[in-house]
């Protein structure tokens, strides 16, 4: 990271987020929940609104000027995604509804094609349910089993045994890039190299990674890389499946319908190539264009500047939270993104969540769709604060005093 970077002008940035001026229960809202869903800046909202107002029609349909225009915007957004994650071709960028749908797509096409009875799917101990359940369903269907890469008490994967966990029966490794609960940044590149050495393809769940760090799928050598628009300052309802072209071409289609066919007769249908093969039906056009605008917005701010700024917030928050007696941070990995889960002795995370809410502080309390992580750390739930590039050190301080107030109340 260059020290020559100009810091972000957060005061100016905050003006792009109208929600940040809201008042909750008489207090200015402090939005520390970007890991649940990022806020969309005005340029994104305006771009989507312009599409719906002035440009709305369908894509890949007919010869009308409007349809061509919409198709161009839609495909330009795909190109923005390609460039953003360093993919080689736009054919490798498949639109989905989100991370979850992208993983289900891979499980039900690539997975069904490759996993047989007795095979193994290897996952990490810190996966989100989205990267567990689709594989569990597939394993049940095929008579395959799931194996798990363990983690230590700091929330770092224990990779000593990785070469033993990968066997001749391993058909896929599913790996979260950044843990949504612990904030851990996993050494994805290293793990992929070790999996590839054994001929095992890797799917990376990048939902929490893309908002915080620069991702280059070719440098990582990922076979599949998936993420959601709404964690990336974009809208809900849109997500991305990156797949190596060779794999996408070998995979069968998923949903059948319009937009994915080459030719249909009563006897037989032939399909288009990737990505169209996986995009049956009318897509979320405004959302895709919105995601393109979000990528423009983040690129203009500078991903490295965002990462540096968020890292400072994380360090500040960690330092302040660690000083609160009775508070325990879950996830103390050396490499972390700006996500902090914590528990406080004697206060259930849901009570903490409600009390923080009373102070206008928006956090997530719950199991974060990662119940095996809760079990691993022997807690029913945690409270999680996540920091984005529009948050400030002052907001971190509001969180800290609100937690201290809650502790006082429960004394």
């Amino acid at each position: 990271m260059s020290t020559l970077l100009q810091p972000l002008d957060v005061t100016a940035i905050r003006k792009d987020f109208p929600l940040l001026s809201r008042v909750l229960h008489g207090k200015p809202v402090v939005y520390l929940d970007s890991a649940v869903s990022g806020q969309m800046p005005l340029p994104v909202i305006e771009r989507m609104s312009k599409y719906e107002r002035d440009e709305h029609t369908n894509v890949h349909r007919g010869v009308s000027t409007l349809s061509q225009e919409a198709t161009d915007f839609f495909e330009a957004a795909r190109e923005k995604v390609r460039k953003f994650i360093g993919a080689g071709s736009i054919k490798e960028i498949v639109w989905t509804r989100g991370t979850t749908e992208a993983i289900n797509l891979v499980a039900q096409t690539f997975g069904r094609m490759t996993v047989k009875a007795g095979d193994e799917i290897l996952l990490s101990a810190m996966e989100h349910h989205a990267n567990i359940v689709p594989w569990q369903m597939l394993a049940e269907e095929k008579g395959a089993t799931l194996k798990v890469i363990p983690m230590n008490n700091a929330g770092e994967l224990i990779l000593d045994s990785l070469d033993e966990l990968i066997t001749d029966r391993t058909k896929l490794l599913g790996l979260i890039h950044v843990s949504n609960v612990l904030g851990t940044v996993n050494p994805v590149k290293q793990i992929i190299a070790r999996a590839h050495a054994r001929g095992v393809p890797v799917l990376v769940d990048g939902a929490q990674a893309v908002p915080h760090l620069r991702v280059d799928v070719r440098d990582l050598d990922a076979d599949f890389y998936v993420f959601s628009g709404h964690k990336l300052s974009g809208p809900t309802g849109i997500g991305v499946l990156y797949g190596r072209l060779e794999l996408l071409e070998a995979m069968p289609p998923w949903h059948g319908g319009g937009s994915m066919i080459r030719n249909v007769t009563w006897e037989k249908t032939t399909y288009l190539g990737a990505p169209a093969k996986f995009e049956a039906g009318t897509p979320a056009i405004a959302a895709a264009i919105g995601l393109g605008a979000a990528i423009d917005y983040l690129t203009e701010l500078g991903l490295d500047r965002i990462a540096a700024y968020e890292h400072d917030l994380l360090a500040h928050a960690t330092e302040r939270l660690e000083r609160i007696p009775g508070l325990r941070i879950l996830g103390t990995a050396k490499e972390k993104a700006s996500v902090i889960s914590f528990v406080v002795e004697g206060i259930h995370p849901h009570d903490m969540g409600s009390l923080l809410d009373g102070d206008g502080v928006v956090v997530r309390a719950g199991h974060h769709c990662a119940q095996p992580v809760m079990t691993r750390f022997n807690v029913p739930a945690t409270t999680r604060a996540s920091f984005a590039y529009f948050n400030t050190r002052d907001e971190v301080d509001v969180l800290v005093s609100s937690i201290i107030k809650a502790i006082e109340l429960f004394k």
Partner: protein, 149 residues
């Protein structure tokens, strides 16, 4: 939306800290387990019912303050009462916290349990307050499990 902090009154905080009737009745006549999958609240309720009266009631489990205080106050409120009255209280309590009662409805059976009326403005917490009552209802009906799913 009301201020969530208003819910955390002293009585609720105190019952959370020192729950009444906490434990397990080995010689119980009725028993049910309650789960709140959203929060991970777990409740184990045991009762001794004789001659149509709730002679004794105890609970164990873990959960948020709203859940624990609700269970503590519930066990105190129904102990010694006829089963039919306990059922009626459960009905009124659920109506109150779900905001399903007609405006102006009196809830004479609930007494200090009306402390929980504020929960109706916090939809995400309604299930926490209701779990003990749903578990009681299940136990009285002879069901082993209750869920607020």
């Amino acid at each position: 939306m009301s201020d969530p902090r208003e819910l955390y009154q002293q009585v609720i905080l105190e019952h959370n800290k020192k729950p009444r009737n906490f434990g397990k009745l080995e010689a119980c006549t009725h028993h049910a387990e309650g789960h709140n999958p959203l929060c991970g609240d777990e409740l184990d309720l045991t009762l001794i019912i004789e001659n149509g009266l709730v002679q004794d009631i105890k609970f164990t489990g873990s959960g948020c303050a709203i859940d624990v205080a609700s269970a503590s106050l519930m066990t105190g409120a129904v102990k010694g009462k006829p089963v039919a009255e306990a059922e009626a209280m459960a009905e009124q309590f659920r109506g109150m916290v779900r905001g399903e009662l007609e405006p102006g409805t009196q809830t004479p059976l609930l007494g200090k349990l009306t402390l929980f009326s504020g929960v109706k403005d916090l939809p995400s917490r309604v299930k926490c307050a209701v779990l003990p009552w749903a578990t009681l209802h299940a136990a009285l009906k002879g069901e082993e499990e209750a869920s607020t799913e």
